[in-house]
Amino acid sequence: MDFDFQNIVTISVYGSAIALILIGIYAVLIKKHLIKIVIGMSLVDAGLHLLFVAIGYINNGTAPIFSPGYEDAATNMVDPVPQALVLTAIVIGFAVTAVALSLVIRLYKHHGTVRIDEIKSLKW
C-alpha cells in the first residue's frame, strides 16, 4: 500500500477522534445550556471510543471471531482487547449520561431554567 495514503488514513481517523474530544470539551467549558454540556460529554465519549477501536485495527485484518470454516485465522485478526474495553466504556458512558440528564431535569424543576449562568446558587 502506498505510504502517503496510509498517512492520510492515520491522520483522518486519529484526527477526527481527537477533534471529537476537543469539540466536546469546548462545549462543556463554553456552552451555558446544560443539555449542550451533556451533549459535549457524550461527544468526548464518542471520540474516546473511536480512539480505542482505531488503535486495535490492523490493515486487512478480520474481526476477532473464529467463524465456522475460518478457525485458523488468528494470525490476521485485529486486537480484541480494545474492543472489549470499549464495550465496557460505552455502557458506563450511558450510565453517566443518564445520571447527568436526570440531574438536568431536577435542576429545571427547581430553577425553571436550564442555563448555567442563571442557576449558580453555589459558587463555581
Partner: protein, 247 residues
C-alpha cells in the same frame, strides 16, 4: 476572555495528543504474531479457541478474561438506575399521568407487531453472544428499545416494576453465584474450567460463558428499561412560576 483561555487550553491538549498519536501508526500490527504471545491481545487470540472453546474472542475477554470488569460494569448500570430513582423520586401523591399526545393508530399497531420481534431479536443476540457478534449488552439494549417503543406508543403502558426488580436481582445474583461457585470448589472467582467446554462453534460451548452472558443480557435489559421508564415518568412541568421569587 474565557473563550480565549479555553481555546488555548484545547490547543495545548490537541497538540500533545496529536504528537502522541502520530507516533502510533494506524493499522500497523502491534500484536506481533499471536504465537509469540508478546501482548495480552495476542495471548487471547492464540488461546481462546483451545482453552475456552468460544468463537468470539471479544466475548471471551468480556465475560471470562476480564469478567471482573463486566461485573463492575453491570454494577455501574445497577447503581445508575438506583441513583436515578433516588434523584427523581417523588411522593406517591405527586405521581402524575404521563402527558403524551396520543399516538397514531399506525404507530400503535406497528409497535404492537414489532415488540415481540424486537425482544426475540435481543434474546437471539445474547444467546449467540459467544458465536457471533453481539452478546449480553447488545441484546439487553435491543430488548430495552423494544420496551421503549411500547412506552412511547401507548400512554397507558406500564412496565411492571416488581418484574424489573426480580429480573434484575436474579440475573445479578446468578452472575455473582457462578463467580462464587469457582471459589467454593477451590478455584478462583469467576473461574470457567468447572463447566464442560463443549465443541467450538456449537450453541452449547464455552462452559459458563453463555450462561453468564445470558444473565448479563437480562440484567442489562431490565436496568436500561428501568432507567428509561424513570426518565419517561418524570413529571412534565407545565409552568414554573416560582423560580423568580426563590432567588
Amino acid at each position: 476572555m474565557k473563550k480565549f483561555f479555553v481555546i488555548a487550553l484545547l490547543a495545548i491538549l490537541g497538540f500533545y495528543l496529536t504528537i502522541a498519536f502520530l507516533q502510533i501508526p494506524f493499522g500497523q500490527n502491534r500484536l506481533g504474531q499471536p504465537q509469540d504471545e508478546a501482548t495480552v491481545g495476542a495471548y487471547y487470540l492464540n488461546n481462546t479457541k483451545e482453552k475456552s472453546a468460544v468463537s468470539n474472542v471479544v466475548t471471551a475477554i468480556v465475560v471470562n478474561y476480564r469478567g471482573f470488569d463486566t461485573l463492575g460494569e453491570v454494577t455501574v448500570l445497577f447503581l445508575a438506575s438506583t441513583g436515578l430513582a433516588s434523584i427523581l423520586y417523588r411522593r406517591k401523591e405527586e405521581e402524575v399521568e404521563r402527558i403524551n399526545k396520543p399516538s397514531s393508530s399506525l404507530l400503535q399497531t406497528g409497535s404492537k407487531f414489532l415488540f415481540p420481534l424486537v425482544v426475540l431479536l435481543g434474546i437471539y443476540v445474547f444467546i449467540h453472544g459467544h458465536l457471533t457478534p453481539g452478546g449480553g449488552f447488545q441484546g439487553g439494549a435491543i430488548i430495552a428499545t423494544g420496551f421503549l417503543l411500547m412506552l412511547i406508543a401507548y400512554q397507558k403502558y406500564h412496565v411492571s416494576h416488581s418484574m424489573l426488580t426480580w429480573v434484575e436481582s436474579l440475573a445479578g445474583v446468578l452472575f455473582v453465584s457462578i463467580g462464587l461457585w469457582g471459589l467454593i470448589t477451590g478455584g478462583t472467582f469467576l473461574e470457567n474450567s468447572y463447566f464442560p467446554k463443549g465443541v467450538l462453534n456449537s450453541l452449547i460451548s464455552g462452559g459458563a460463558i453463555p450462561i453468564i452472558y445470558i444473565a448479563v443480557g437480562f440484567k442489562v435489559a431490565a436496568e436500561l428499561t428501568g432507567v428509561l421508564d424513570i426518565l419517561l415518568n418524570t413529571k412534565e412541568e407545565k409552568s414554573v412560576p416560582s423560580n423568580q421569587n426563590e432567588k
